[in-house]
Symmetry: C2
Subunit: 403 residues, 2 copies
Amino acid sequence: MSMRPFTHTITLAEAKTIIDAGITPLMRHETIVLDDARGRVVAADVVSALDVPPFDRASMDGYAVIAADTRGASADAPTPLTMTARVYTGDMPDSVVRPGTCMEIATGAPMPAGADAVVMVEDTSANGDRINVRTAIRVGQNVGPRAADIAIGHTVLREGDVLNASRVGALAAIGAAAVNVWARPSVAILSTGNEIATQGTALAPGQIYDINRYTLSAIVQDHGGIAHPISTARDTLPALHAAIDACLAHDLIIFSGGSSVGERDLILDVVRERGEVRFHGIAVKPGKPTLFGMIEGKPVFGMPGYPSSCLSNAYILLVPVLRRMAHLPLTAPRTMRMPLAARVASTPGRHQFYTVRVENGTAVPAFKASGDITSMSRADGYIEIEAEITEVPAGTEVTVTVF
Amino acid sequence: MSMRPFTHTITLAEAKTIIDAGITPLMRHETIVLDDARGRVVAADVVSALDVPPFDRASMDGYAVIAADTRGASADAPTPLTMTARVYTGDMPDSVVRPGTCMEIATGAPMPAGADAVVMVEDTSANGDRINVRTAIRVGQNVGPRAADIAIGHTVLREGDVLNASRVGALAAIGAAAVNVWARPSVAILSTGNEIATQGTALAPGQIYDINRYTLSAIVQDHGGIAHPISTARDTLPALHAAIDACLAHDLIIFSGGSSVGERDLILDVVRERGEVRFHGIAVKPGKPTLFGMIEGKPVFGMPGYPSSCLSNAYILLVPVLRRMAHLPLTAPRTMRMPLAARVASTPGRHQFYTVRVENGTAVPAFKASGDITSMSRADGYIEIEAEITEVPAGTEVTVTVF
């Protein structure tokens, strides 16, 4: 067997269409406690079984009154009322506000029967139990009515809502101790190659450390998945078959390395034997030697072994897949428009992923070479240059996707 | 004791200045394994003890050659070379490329001695061991030189770098199994109030569920902290003193509730007794009854009990504090500029936090009332309206901070 050059590459758009056809949102869901809910996606509409607030309550510190009693009150001619009780938060008042009387009330405390408004403490003066009201107020003033925030039967959250702080708060408001969310995609990550050494051990001649296992795990976690790194497979067919067996317990399988055209690059053969190769080779730079296929219904990526090629393809191809499987919104608002600080040349016919630093509101080219992880670790994000563009002049307004 | 109205509020800018003076980045650091490193902040420059790559390597699949041998080669007049060996990734070639010979080589494999360039497989044809080179190449072509990405002694990461995928990858590249990062601030969260019921239990009359414990925990976790909710304290001085004792094991203390002016709002008294109140009352809407102080060197926030007031103040005041303590960059790029869809009126003299939904590229006002958690859970983010502004007309370009 000799080396097999790429006979055919497809465009990035074609690759994305083929990948899309192989991906569906995961339909598994699970119930988790609120403390673990941050960032998760609601799997079913949540309907409230109670009113929030569950009672009319004071929205200011002051005095619960009958609004009609304050008619004509002013600073010059205050209306005197007799304070008969104090109502604190957590209390249920057991007496009634009658004409000519009032009750001291704290913000959030339940309104006593009979009262229909709250006079702010700032609008009163007190002399023992005699409260002088210095302003006229209307019915309902400074009162938060029962169910004003959430009414019984109200849909508090909808399927697909991402649980940020305020949405977790909305669940807490209705007393929910747990929430039903979409399961996170479980992703098998497997770096192949005889040259891969283990972190923390010395390199033997010809060896390098595994970078892709770590960058891919971080991307998977950043975009709603659970990363399951699997022990590095040697470049033999039996080792790769055994690895596939282990991977099939997961929802998505990502190989890195072994998808180029070298004689020992066997991923292509293994995916072909075990399932179906849907494409092999994309007109992107870096990242051409990329494979996508399906094995027993599970999508399989074969990513380039070169670390920055692997990672740039992860941003362009894998992130949308992860987010779709996880029911997360496809576009996170993490892009910025700014002028390009210096001219960038691009290879004709290849969609280019180009790293930049953000400096003084401009995008400064930060690309080194496709094997260089530092070209990415020193960048703030990337721009994409369409396949037909060969040059982007300095000053062009570009869209930077932030890492 | 009677109710104590706010005699004085300070501006938001004054409040931020006072808070800033009480906050310093945490100087505790810790060593963690790479798998846990995502999102953490590097505590000390990381210098490489090795070259990456550790050897000259092929950057294409093809044949390792002596460039001079290919002089004058073309498709019409190919230069024949004799293939003497194959070099795979992970191998160290044990023979030498001599004039007139070549070795098959895979991308990433170490360059054999004698060779100084790689001819791409696409630029050759093979007939057994006879390889016809159809193009002339220059010295170094398709070779990734040793140390091209990272050289021994090179600073791979700097103190303050946030560990995203590519930076974790850079650590992996140099064989690091662990990394020294700044400790995350440990934040005690305590909701006070006799009216607070436990999630999952039925409400007694006058009770409500605790929302702030959950929204504050989410904000703390979103911005680099570890949330430690502490059992809800009853509104008594001994209970609050005991709670403070428990909180002092943490780096930052956040109370919610109990900072308004009601008779039972005792946080002010407790902070005054145990430490120092630096302000109480800010001219913001919502969120006026907010307290900041110091107890035994630990910053203490007293947040309003009303859930959306508590959360809006968390965004405006707490997020910068958390990020600064955690050594995270103060401005995360999560803002968008867009026109306001409808007029918004604002209270004169109070800096307003106003929730909006993003719809069709416009910011649609989504504010309900300051007690309403749903005014935030249905919004995508917020705009801020300066204290002196009383009206923002429809169509005004506003900055939306995304939740």
